[in-house]
């Protein structure tokens, strides 16, 4: 009996060991001087961009034979990234959006790369406004990969159908939110389609709404001397901003019928000529790559102006490094960034590699603008390479983006400092309410939203 019991226990232990070893097999090793790094957001084989990345991988192998690049096709979208981060399964290099940085830093999902950023010259070369987005307590947690300011995407074909074209051929962009209603109404009358589309779900409605609300003079929160945060948007201005959304639907009828719309749905409607305007950032590659929109029909204007000014929000994507990465792996990741040309230290080789991406976009008919959506680099060597490459591959008319690129009276607003996603979620629900109930009381909704934000989130901040 004892022998059999021992056999059982041995079997159990063996099973446990096998399971443990299987788990350990997933860990990275650095034997024989080879450093393995996983690179996230790698294009899938069906993506035409995969060839460019394969070329990057080959160049890495040539230049750094002791670094092994392991492609990882996981994307930086919040859901999959949070799940992987919480289980310690993030790739060494991953891409996420600016709105996720604060939570990623707070949750310990990214490594402190201050020393490396300085060593490789990023700290000195990236636009301080952008660098500030990845800096917390004077420590740098990411390398911005793109930067943009929100603008107003306009469907040229629909504007032309509504006769909203100047004598010189440029579009008659709405300059204010009030004008946006008039423009949308004209387009709706001429085409029968929605003049404008506004997101309402997945926190994206709230995200865009903050931009509109700032233009109405709304301040969402403030911190008092004791450090306590107070919700400050139960105001007339916020009621007016929400009323504006409500009027788009019930008074002017210029929105689509569906009230459940996220940014992906907006793109579909816009690309298929079912909506003429929406607030987003250029160049909107997805409109062409996924929905086959003619790139020449995509135009961008500045965000409209509200009673308190013309406010936009800066956003973009950022490269972050998993906290489990060893110093050797972090070093290897920076070498990879250098090889793909996302580096302040431009050489002929890195410039050539950087160009590959634009060449691919050009060949794929994806919009390449003459100007960047927001200046990412400030060092002359780097910006001049940027300009030269862009000029070589620019494939959309300048005038399609001229209004957007004029930042003269545009004020770039910081994203709300704490609980931004929670705020967006609450604003989403308010927007949905005014779009599904013609009798909704905007004042009461704003009051409730401010109370919910205070009680459920700000009061529970540590």
């Amino acid at each position: 009996m004892r022998t059999k019991m021992k056999k059982c226990v041995s079997l159990l232990l063996t099973g446990t060991m096998i399971l443990s070893l299987s788990a350990l097999a997933g860990c990275k090793n650095e034997k024989n001087g080879t450093v393995s790094v996983t690179i996230g957001d790698w294009p899938t084989s069906s993506d035409s961009n995969a060839k460019v990345y394969e070329e990057y991988k080959n160049k890495m192998k040539e230049k750094y034979p002791n670094i092994e690049i392991i492609p990882d096709q996981s994307t930086g979208n919040a859901t999959s990234y949070v799940a992987r981060a919480s289980s310690g399964q993030l790739p060494n290099l991953y891409v996420t959006s600016y709105t996720e940085i604060a939570n990623a830093v707070k949750s310990g999902f990214c490594a402190d790369i201050t020393d490396y950023s300085t060593k490789f010259g990023y700290t000195q070369s990236i636009n301080p406004l952008v660098l500030d987005k990845v800096t917390y307590d004077k420590k740098i947690y990411g390398i911005p990969s793109t930067a943009y300011a929100l603008g107003l995407a306009c469907n040229k074909k629909m504007f032309e159908q509504a006769g909203l074209v100047n004598e010189d051929g440029s579009l008659q962009y709405p300059s204010t939110y009030e004008e946006m209603i008039e423009t949308a109404a004209k387009i709706k009358a001429a085409t029968g389609q929605a003049g404008v589309v506004f997101p309402t779900m997945n926190n994206q409605g709230g995200w865009i709404f903050t931009c509109l609300a700032w233009s109405y003079g709304v301040k969402f929160m403030e911190q008092d001397e004791s450090g306590t945060w107070k919700a400050t948007f139960d105001t007339n201005e916020c009621v007016q901003a929400l009323q504006y959304i409500k009027d788009l639907k019930w008074k002017h009828n210029v929105l689509p019928d569906n009230a459940f719309i996220d940014v992906t749905e907006e793109k579909k409607l816009f690309a298929s000529d079912q909506a003429a305007m929406y607030i987003i950032h250029p160049p909107e590659r997805m409109l062409v790559k996924t929905y086959n929109m003619d790139k020449n029909n995509i135009c961008f204007a500045r965000v409209p102006e509200g009673p308190a000014g013309r406010y936009t929000l800066m956003g973009g994507n950022v490269y972050m490094i998993s906290p489990q990465s060893t110093p050797e792996q972090i070093d290897a990741v920076f070498k990879f960034l250098d090889v793909i040309g996302h580096t302040p230290n431009v050489t002929d080789e890195t410039s050539e590699n950087y160009e590959m991406n634009y060449k691919h976009d050009y060949e794929e008919n994806v919009p390449v603008m003459k100007e960047t959506a927001f200046p990412l680099w400030i060092n002359e060597a780097r910006t001049s390479v940027d300009k030269a490459v862009r000029n070589k591959y620019v494939n959309v008319p300048d005038e399609n983006f001229a209004d957007y690129s004029n930042f003269e009276d545009v004020m770039v607003h910081e994203e709300e400092p704490v609980c931004a996603q929670e705020l967006y979620s609450i604003l989403d629900s308010g927007i949905q309410e005014v779009l599904t109930d013609s009798n909704a009381d905007c004042g009461a909704i704003v009051k409730r939203m401010a109370k919910d934000f205070q009680v459920n989130h700000l009061d529970k901040l540590d």
Partner: protein
């Protein structure tokens, strides 16, 4: 007071039992070993996560790391959320409507299939087919069918009979009902087959005897079919309550929990805590609250069922 005889008797029984367990284990060692993978699997997939969920919910978490013990603070935070009562109410609404809409049709369809003489396989496959479709695809399909305005499929039908377009999922009062209809369509096939298998296991002689006695179809249903499917129906009732109480995929896909939180369930709230706000501690607490409510509901059901049977 325990008598000496009682004590001796108990010791004897205890020893006998102890020996019995050992003997059972010794005699069935192969069986126990075969069971081992399942036990290990259950440990990693069910028991350990359940225990970890309970344990972690008592801590402040930073990402997935435990920071400090906070006792019941996460529970208090979740329960005092101004939307918690609404979300809890929504979850019960899902359960209620799933019983109203989703419990009877499978029984009815199984009875119909049981009576079909020709093309049985065709109808069985037809009923089961939605079950094999991926959930996300099914709910996206229903989402597009429910589109408001004139572009939605259902509104196109309404338009054909002169009825103006309806808002479907945007109707705060009925959005849950429309979601439940799509869930019933998707998952009913499995339940139908279970009822059908039970019905087909009934001895045909009972029907023949009933027919000789002049029984009509309603009598056969009342006195033969229903008593036979009763135990299966009770089991499926618990499964349905447990399953629907954890509804998440459907509102996430079709409404995102809207309009204005009208379709947010407890499971979706936990999802939002974890993946939108990165508050894993509160997500754990919400999961435990759901688990406890289900324990109470299942316990209450078992007590009622026992009383009814007694």
């Amino acid at each position: 007071m325990i008598s000496c005889t009682d004590s001796v008797q108990r010791t004897f029984i205890h020893k006998k039992r102890k020996k019995g367990v050992g003997t059972i284990f010794k005699q069935n060692i192969t069986g126990w070993l075969m069971l081992l993978p399942t036990v290990i699997f259950a440990y990693f997939i069910i028991w350990r996560p359940t225990f970890v969920g309970f344990y972690d919910s008592l801590f402040k978490m930073n990402g997935s790391a435990l920071v400090s013990f906070t006792g019941l603070k996460n529970y208090i935070d979740v329960i005092t959320d101004t939307n918690f009562v609404t979300v809890l109410g929504n979850t019960f609404k899902y359960t209620f409507w799933s019983l109203v809409i989703g419990f009877v049709p499978p029984v009815f369809i199984a009875m119909l299939l049981n009576e079909v003489r020709k093309g049985k396989d065709f109808f069985r496959i037809g009923v089961y087919l939605p079950v094999v479709l991926p959930g996300i695809a099914v709910y996206m399909l229903w989402y597009y069918m429910y589109l408001p305005g004139t572009s939605g499929l259902l509104n196109t039908f309404l338009g054909k009979v002169g009825i103006s377009p309806y808002t479907w999922l945007q109707d705060q009062n009925l959005a849950i009902v429309w979601i439940i209809i799509s869930m019933t369509w998707h998952s009913m096939g499995g339940t139908v087959l279970m009822y059908l298998a039970t019905l087909q296991g009934i001895n045909r002689e009972l029907y023949e005897a009933a027919e000789i006695d002049g029984a009509k179809i309603r009598h056969k249903i009342r006195y033969i079919m229903l008593p036979h499917i009763y135990p299966v129906a009770l089991l499926l009732l618990i499964r349905q309550i447990i399953g629907v109480f954890q509804v998440m995929e459907q509102p996430l896909t079709m409404t995102g929990g809207g309009p204005n939180g009208a379709t947010t369930s407890l499971a979706l709230l936990a999802y939002k805590y974890a993946f939108e706000y990165y508050k894993f501690d509160k997500a754990m607490a919400t999961g435990v609250i759901t688990f406890l409510i289900l324990c109470v509901l299942t316990g209450a059901y078992l007590v009622i069922e026992k009383k009814l049977n007694d």
